[in-house]
Amino acid sequence: MSRPDSLPNAVRDTFRRDQVFSPLRSGVRPVQPGELDARGKYILYMEEITVSFDGFKALNDLTLYIEPGELRCIIGPNGAGKSTMMDVITGKTRPDHGTCYFGQTLDLTRLSETDIATAGIGRKFQKPTVFPEHTALENLELAMAGPKGPWQALLAPITGEQRDWMASTLDTVGLLAERDRPAGALSHGQKQWLEIAMVLMQKPRLLLVDEPIAGMTRQEVERTGELLQSLAGEHSVMVVEHDMEFIRSIANTVTVLHQGSVLAEGRMQDVQNDAKVIEVYLGENVES
C-alpha cells in the first residue's frame, strides 16, 4: 500500500525524493535520457505539481507516487485534472511548479516527449489516436521499441523475431485478422485495442491508459480488464476511467482527484465510503 499522504509528516518526509536525495537537488544534475533507475520504492514521483492555464489551476499541489508493477486507477469528476496530469507525465505540459521524476534519475519536467517515451512511458490517449493511413500492422511497427533514428529506420530490416512479436501482440488484442487494413477503417473499439497494442509494443515500464473502454462492447470491456490486470506486475499501469463498475472490477488502489489535487487514495471500497468523495460526487453520476 502506498499512502504517503496518510503517513505522519516525519515519516512522509523520508519518502520525499528531495529530502532523501538532497544532494541531487542542488545545482543542475546531468539528465541522462533513456536510462531508468527503478531501484527505489516508487517508479513515479509527482510532488507538489501545479499547472495553471490563464489563472485556472488545472493541477494544484498534486502529489502522487506509483510503485513498480502497480495497477492504479485514477478517478475524479470532469475538470479534476486527470488529463493534465497525464500531460505532465508525458512531457506535453510543463508544470509551473513541482517535481516529477521517473525512477531515481529522470526529471520528466525537463525531458522532451520523445525522451520520455523512449525512457519507458507509454500512453494511450482518450481519443484513439492511431495513424489512419497505416495498416494495423504498420501502426505496431511504428510503435515497436527499438532504435528510432531515421538512418536505422531506412537501413535496418525488420527481423523475423520482431514480426512474430507484432503478430502475437495483434493476436492478443484480437486484431490479427485486420492486420493489413488501414487503421482508419477500423471500428472505434478496434482502434482502442490497436492503440493498447501500440502501447504494448513500446515495452513501457509505465503505461498511462486514458479511458480505455469508451466505445467497447461488454465482452471487449471484460477482456480489457483482464489485459490490464495481466500487465500489472511486469509494468506499472495508471488507468483513468469514468466507468465505476469497470474500476471496481480491476482496481486495487484508487486515487480520487478533485480540483487538481488528490482528494482521497486507498482501496475502492474505502474510497467509495469516504465522506469527502461522496460530497464531491454528489450530483455526479457515480455509477455511470
Binding site: R123, P132, E133, A143, K148, G149, P150, I158, D180, A185
Partner: protein, 384 residues
C-alpha cells in the same frame, strides 16, 4: 507491410514501368534528333530535345517537393531556392569554363567581375574550376542551407502555414541578395553566355542529347531512391509524422530528425535538378529565386497528385507542356489557365490526376473500395 531495400525498389513494378516509359521516350527523341536528317518529317529539333530536358528537370524538382510535401506534410514554398542554388553552382562552373573567351578576354575573371572592377576571384568561386568539386557544391549548397534552416525550424516546431510562409520569405530574401552585385553572382543578369561543359560545346546537338540522357538518368535514379525511402520504415515514420506529429513523438520518435532528414535530401535533389537545368537553358539569374516559381512548382505536384511520386512527375510535365503550348498560342491566357488550375485542383481534385484516375478505375471495376476514404489529410488526428 514490406520493408523495401534498394533492390526491391529497383525491381518493383512501378519503378520498372516508370523507367521503361522514361527511357523509351528519351532514347526515341535522341535517335530522331541525331540520326534522322533535318529535312525529314520525323526529325526532332534540338529545341525539342532541350525542351524535354527542361521538363525532366522540372519533374525531378517536383519529385523532390513531393517527397517533403506529399510524404512529409511539409509544404515548402521555397524549393525554388534550392533549385536555383544548384543551378548557380553549375552556372559558376560553366562561367569558369568560358576562360578568356569572354567579352573582356580576361582569363582569370568572369566578365561581370571585370566589369565591376574586381581584381581577384572571391573564395567561394574557387571550387568552380573543378567539375568534381562543382558536383559536390551542387549538392552541398542547397543541402547545407536546408539542413541549417530545417534544423532551426523543425527544432522549434514551426509547422504548417508558418513554415510555408518562412520558406517563402527565405527564397524572397535570397532573391534580393542575388540581385545585388556585391554578392558576386552576376547580380541582375545572373550567369550566362556559357560555352562548353567538360570540353563539349553546349550548342552541339550531341551535347544536348547527352544532357537530356543525364537528366533522365538523374530522374530515374531519384525516383528509385524515393521509392526505396517511401517503401521503407523511414517512409512510414515520415507518413506518421505527417498524419500525427505529436503522436509520433509519444511513440519515441524525434520527429524533427525525420523532417530534417527528408527536407535536406529533398533540397539536394532540387539542387541536382537545378544543376541539370542550367546547361540546357543556358542561363541562371535571380529570377529563379522568385517566390512565384516555388509556388508554381507546388501546383505541378498538386495537379499530378501528392504522395505518389509518379504523380509529381506527370504533373510537372503536363503543366509545363501546357505552359509551352499556351504561351505560344495565346500568351495572355496562360496566367488565367494557371490560376484556374490552382483553384480547380485544390477545390475539385485534392488527390490530383492520379487520384482521379484511380477513382475512375475503381468505379469501372465496380469493386467497392476496401476502406472508407479517410477524411481530409490536412488535419490529421492529433492527440487531444
Amino acid at each position: 507491410m514490406r520493408h523495401s531495400d534498394l533492390k526491391t525498389a529497383l525491381t518493383d513494378r512501378a519503378a520498372k514501368v516508370f523507367i521503361g516509359v522514361l527511357f523509351s521516350a528519351v532514347i526515341l527523341v535522341a535517335l530522331l534528333n541525331l540520326l534522322v536528317p533535318v529535312d525529314s518529317a520525323l526529325h526532332v529539333s534540338s529545341y525539342t530535345v532541350t525542351l524535354l530536358g527542361k521538363y525532366l528537370c522540372y519533374a525531378l524538382l517536383a519529385l523532390a517537393l513531393d517527397l517533403v510535401w506529399g510524404f512529409g506534410g511539409i509544404l515548402s514554398l521555397g524549393h525554388g531556392a534550392f533549385f536555383a542554388l544548384g543551378g548557380y553552382a553549375m552556372g559558376m562552373y560553366l562561367m569558369r569554363q568560358i576562360g578568356d573567351r569572354g567579352v573582356y578576354g580576361n582569363p582569370n575573371l568572369p566578365d561581370f567581375m571585370v566589369f565591376l572592377n574586381w581584381k581577384e576571384l572571391p573564395w567561394y568561386w574557387q571550387a568552380s574550376d573543378h567539375f568534381g568539386l562543382t558536383l559536390l557544391l551542387v549538392g552541398l549548397a542547397p543541402g547545407l542551407l536546408a539542413f541549417v534552416f530545417g534544423w532551426l525550424a523543425f527544432r522549434s516546431r514551426v509547422t504548417g502555414v508558418y513554415l510555408s510562409i518562412i520558406t517563402q520569405a527565405l527564397t524572397y530574401a535570397l532573391m534580393l541578395a542575388f540581385f545585388r552585385n556585391e554578392f558576386g553572382f552576376g547580380g541582375n543578369n545572373g550567369l550566362t553566355d556559357f560555352k562548353d561543359i567538360l570540353g563539349f560545346s553546349l550548342q552541339a546537338d550531341s551535347t544536348r542529347v547527352a544532357l537530356l540522357i543525364a537528366t533522365a538518368l538523374a530522374l530515374a535514379g531519384a525516383f528509385v531512391l524515393c521509392r526505396w525511402i517511401t517503401g521503407s520504415r523511414l517512409g512510414r515514420v515520415t507518413l506518421a509524422v505527417r498524419d500525427g506529429e505529436s503522436r509520433a513523438r509519444f511513440l519515441g520518435y524525434r520527429t524533427e530528425h525525420y523532417k530534417l532528414w527528408i527536407f535536406t535530401l529533398s533540397a539536394v535533389l532540387a539542387g541536382i535538378a537545378g544543376a541539370l537545368y542550367v546547361p540546357q537553358v543556358g542561363i541562371i539569374n535571380p529570377g529563379e529565386f522568385s517566390p512565384l516559381n516555388s509556388i508554381e512548382l507546388v501546383v505541378w505536384v498538386a495537379v499530378g497528385g501528392r504522395a505518389t511520386l509518379y504523380g509529381a512527375v506527370i504533373g510537372a510535365i503536363l503543366v509545363n507542356y501546357g505552359k509551352t503550348v499556351f504561351t505560344g498560342v495565346m500568351p495572355e491566357a496562360w496566367l488565367f489557365a494557371l490560376g484556374g488550375l490552382f483553384v480547380a485542383v485544390t477545390v475539385f481534385l485534392p488527390q490530383g490526376l492520379v487520384g482521379l484516375a484511380s477513382d475512375l478505375l475503381k468505379r469501372k471495376r465496380r469493386t467497392p473500395p476496401t476502406a472508407p476514404q479517410t477524411t481530409n489529410k490536412e488535419s490529421p488526428h492529433e492527440p487531444a
